[in-house]
């Protein structure tokens, strides 16, 4: 791109106080990894690309569904059934063709995350499960990467920028919540509901914090947690002192070992997409269990599932044949994850799997 074209494209921001041509060059040279390509990531990615962030990685193994379109602004009707990272890359390159975009069409886990994260300067967490968020958090502490965190619950959102400043001043997610929260108690968007404009503002705030970081602007939300209540427009920001009650892996071996012993990694390995779920059924020796309430629809005949609502799982445990691969599913993948945790951790069953995203993600 010649200098005049470059200037024309970014002229409106280069004339801002604190954002000159040198800062623009920093944006063009920056390497930013966005993990997740959903509601937070769409506006975040779009504003990063429009601002000229030159090198962007996008990680997500998910496909576009009709229920995504209410909030995930990079996708449209024609994208349903396509990989999100492919659609996002195409749309973003239409916005600014000189952006170097690398897509990773799979989900992040403890085994693959270090190799990907270490290639980037700033990591943006746009995911939606605690297990993955803690995996990213621990990897960013280990690799000393700045982490821009964003998350939503109904009409509220949280933003934080971790691992900034001198070593003894750096904070991470575990300094607020030392252990991985129970996903069952703190639901995801699929279960709790979400408005596009809410997740859009938080994703945009993540892009803004990233741009501030890259260009060394003041006012980065470093080592603080901001909570925004969108119905009342209240912003509540707290500082985060060091929490000494947790330890983190000090090297790659420890990081992987922690993964082997935590439900974080196991959960990822035990999560199946539709194709993997059907493949297991085809392979045989499986018992498929629908943990929704009995009135919930639709019924998928090809799954031939035994219906055991999650609240009756304990009393009907004798109906589960642990010599088989147990395949669990529900509406959105939350109750099946709870059932998976119960059967694995409380009942000691080894071969338990669940349908990630539930029937919401099911394509006939």
């Amino acid at each position: 791109m010649d200098k005049q074209t470059l200037y024309d494209r970014f002229q409106r921001q280069i004339i801002l106080p604190n954002l000159d041509e040198l800062a623009q060059q920093k944006l063009l040279d920056a390497k930013v990894l966005v993990i997740g390509a959903g509601g937070l990531a769409c506006p975040c990615l779009e504003y990063l690309v429009r601002a000229g962030v030159g090198n962007i990685g996008i990680v997500d193994g998910d496909y576009v569904t009709i229920s995504n379109l209410q909030r995930q602004t990079l996708y449209n009707n024609n994208d349903i059934g396509k990989l999100k990272v492919d659609c996002a890359k195409e749309r973003l390159l239409n916005i600014h063709p000189h952006t170097n975009i690398t897509s990773y069409p799979f989900f992040l886990d403890r085994k693959n995350c270090l190799a990907i994260i270490q290639q980037y300067d700033i990591i943006i967490d746009c995911t939606d499960l605690f297990s993955v968020r803690y995996c990213i958090n621990d990897a960013c502490v280990l690799l000393e990467k700045a982490l821009v965190f964003g998350a939503v619950f109904q009409y509220e959102g949280q933003v934080a920028v971790f691992n900034i400043g001198e070593k003894n001043e750096q904070r991470n997610l575990r300094d607020i919540f030392p252990t991985i929260p129970n996903q069952e108690a703190h639901t995801t968007c699929n279960e709790a509901g979400i408005l596009g404009a809410v997740v859009g503002i938080i994703g945009t705030m993540q892009a803004l914090e990233t741009i501030k970081l890259i260009t060394n602007m003041q006012g980065v939300l470093a080592n603080q947690l901001l909570t925004y209540h969108f119905l009342h427009h209240n912003i509540f920001t707290v500082s985060i002192p060091k929490n000494n009650t947790y330890t983190l892996p000090m090297n790659e071996q420890e990081f992987l070992r922690v993964g082997e012993n935590t439900s974080c990694n196991n959960q990822i390995q035990q999560e199946l997409n539709q194709a993997q779920f059907l493949e297991k059924i085809k392979a045989g020796n499986t018992q498929v269990i629908d943990v929704r309430q009995l009135h919930e629809m639709p019924i998928i005949p090809e799954l031939n599932a035994l219906r055991i609502p999650i609240d009756t799982l304990a009393e009907r445990i004798h109906e589960i044949d642990s010599s088989k691969d147990i395949l669990l599913f529900c509406h959105a993948g939350i109750r099946s994850l709870m059932a998976l945790e119960y059967l694995s951790e409380e009942c000691g069953m080894q071969k338990v799997f669940h349908l990630k995203g539930g029937l919401l993600q099911w394509k006939n």
């Binding site: 937070l40 995911t127 998350a151 619950f153 968007c189 909570t227 509540f236 500082s239």
Partner: protein, 79 residues
């Protein structure tokens, strides 16, 4: 002297308490705050949340003064 404090609640904690602001009496420190909350709202025991006093998250038992700004912040995972 009886201490009256107000507590701000966020996220899913509001559903449990059925209010975004709570007034409590005779709360001396963080331990007595937690005890009182768990008696009044047993469902809170299943929730993880950070406690902030005067906009600073606290990790240890701390004395709570009459006009302290208390907030209970649960983790959010949606995205």
């Amino acid at each position: 002297m009886a201490t009256t404090i107000t507590v701000k609640l966020f996220g899913s904690l509001v559903d449990i308490v059925q209010n975004s602001i709570l007034t409590l009496e005779d709360v001396e420190d963080v331990h007595s705050l937690q005890e009182k909350l768990f008696v009044l709202f047993p469902a809170l025991q299943k929730m993880q949340f950070a406690i902030a006093i005067d906009k600073k998250i606290i990790h240890e038992n701390t004395v709570i003064n009459e006009h302290a700004d208390i907030a209970l912040l649960p983790p959010f995972s949606g995205g």
